[in-house]
Symmetry: C2
Subunit: 90 residues, 2 copies
């Protein structure tokens, strides 16, 4: 078993209202950044997973997103492998 | 002027308490994922910026992080260029 660190990004689906993004957009404009267009805000999670392989760590992360981490109606998610921690490759 | 889309990830500094990460860790364990170690939760922002060049878009994003998007005491940030939108290169 090896330890893997994954980065999971969960973001609002295109076209859906994103009030937090709107608020940040407005604040940036107020602070003088006129060149800012659309702003979307989501969550990023860094999860350490113990798994047999990189593939099975990714599959576990996908299952976690479907079951808990992302709202399947309003959010999309993306998973990236950040690094293999100690024990990887053994 | 060109449009650039940047991804900004803001995350709690290592060693600082992350209650949201702890809650997710606990939930994942309860759902049967025993192999999950540390979980850290941050924000990811997708910002469209109009700028002269990729470099100046990145500099603007960094200034935004220092002034508004990240808490300099408790959070770290990372900026990546996602894509150059219409008008880029002209």
């Amino acid at each position: 078993m090896s330890q893997y660190r994954l980065e999971i990004r969960v973001k609002p689906r295109p076209g859906l209202l994103d009030p937090q993004g709107k608020a940040i957009h407005h604040s940036l404009n107020s602070l003088g950044w006129d060149g800012v267009g659309d702003v979307r805000v989501g969550k990023v999670m860094y999860i350490d997973i113990e798994a047999d392989s990189e593939t099975s760590a990714g599959e576990a992360a996908e299952a976690m997103c479907r079951k808990l981490l992302a709202n399947p109606v309003t959010e999309d998610f993306e998973i990236s492998m950040i690094e293999a921690l100690e024990g990887a490759g053994s």
